[in-house]
Symmetry: C2
Subunit: 226 residues, 2 copies
DNA sequence: CTACAATAGTACTGATCCGTCCAGTACCAC
DNA sequence: GTGGTACTGGACGGATCAGTACTATTGTAG
């Protein structure tokens, strides 16, 4: 009786280290629920996921879910915005990548690489599909998501491009438009395909590297000064 | 008793001209059902639309739906592919638009205009959201949709760009990549925003015209020869 | 005219699911 | 201890929904 038998549902292993079945802190179960809900919502969609499934995967009573989240909609919204916040790390790196004095093409290429590899991660793609698909039922959530993720990257990129233009390395009239063009050239091919194909097939690193190079080349042909 | 009272459900007006309540041909009701189902699926999503609602909007008994379509999934698939076929008209125009001898920039700009205005139509956007959102539940359907709509436009565009390159008007190594870059530059801004914002706000024609111009300018800077 | 196929209308089955309720249990602070 | 809090486990109400059954009706082909 010292420890429960190892027949726990999968995600419950996160709390298996606890001496007993009880979570240590008040917020621990909320995190476990979030994790299980994220897994299921991303895999099966909003309507395709039941609260009972979430409770089972989290190894938690359904009542516990409702002590942490008002209802299914709030759980979903919190979950989306929480996962959207992961873009912060990337946004904070943009300035540094474009700031070092290794010329212009190399930093842009490095930025392109990182952005591509960030966006084509399966969880990110599924999150994007989910928000787009539920945009009709959660319009405010979709709008907030767009504002916090893609638009935030675009704004950061625009200000950095404008800074480079101030140094004479680039020339542009509309930095936000230039940022959109850069992102479009980099992400269109992998992202547009991935939105419709769950199992991404042709995403070998060589192809992605080629796409990054080609996108930067086109961008510099239009916005470069050399 | 000569005609039914004007309290018919909305879409039933399509058959109100018939002398009696019965459809004239066998396939007439299938078309009415399709129309109603399209309206509802696009507005409320797959899970959010019930067969009873479709029957009510179509002014048809639910049993009639099941005489024309095996089940909800088949109705949905047929509906998506049927609406996807509307891209045919545009694909057939591409060659003509890029073929007349009015230079290079003007035809490309005209193509950009038409493509933008085709894609930002609310029904097209909603169809795209719907297919993306249901890609997890209907992977084959999503794959077929991508193949028949965006990829078909890209292939057509690629072959035309290659033809222009053969005349020395453009230069490119990879026509398909060039086509992707063109589409990316043209569609990214309006499409990426629209995927997350149901009510499109800032889509005044002036802005779209500006986007078309800017996209063509960047494309020609990279792929033009003059 | 008759047989047939399509349809209307309605009720029904079986299943799912959200959210709630409740009794009992384990931990923690004091 | 004692009270408070979080949690379990199960049951359940209320609602929705896909798909079927069945009868009655109507147009149409032969």
């Amino acid at each position: 009786m010292a420890s429960p038998p190892p027949t726990l549902p999968q995600a419950a292993a996160a709390r298996a280290a606890a001496p007993t079945r009880r979570r240590t802190g008040r917020l621990a179960s909320a995190a476990v629920i979030m994790e299980a809900a994220t897994t299921l919502f991303l895999r099966k969609g909003y309507a395709g996921t039941s609260m009972d499934e979430i409770a089972a995967l989290a190894g938690v009573s359904k009542q516990t879910i409702y002590t942490h989240f008002a209802d299914k909609e709030h759980l979903f919204s919190d979950l989306i915005l929480r996962n959207a916040a992961r873009v912060d790390e990337f946004v904070e790196q943009v300035g540094g990548i474009l700031d070092d004095s290794h010329g212009l093409e190399k930093p842009l290429l490095e930025l392109a690489r990182r952005y591509i590899h960030l966006v084509i991660r399966p969880e990110v793609l599924q999150l994007r599909r989910l928000v787009i698909g539920e945009a009709g039922n959660f319009p405010d959530l979709a709008g907030t998501y767009y504002q916090r993720v893609p638009e935030r990257v675009l704004s950061t990129l625009a200000s950095n491009l404008e800074r480079l233009a101030g140094r004479g390395l680039l020339r542009m009239d509309d930095p936000m438009l230039a940022a959109n063009h850069f992102v479009a050239l980099i992400l269109w091919v992998p992202l547009d395909r991935a939105m419709f194909h769950i199992e991404q097939e042709s995403l070998e690193p060589g192809r992605l590297e080629q796409l990054a190079h080609a996108g930067v080349r086109v961008f510099l042909a239009a916005y470069g000064t050399s």
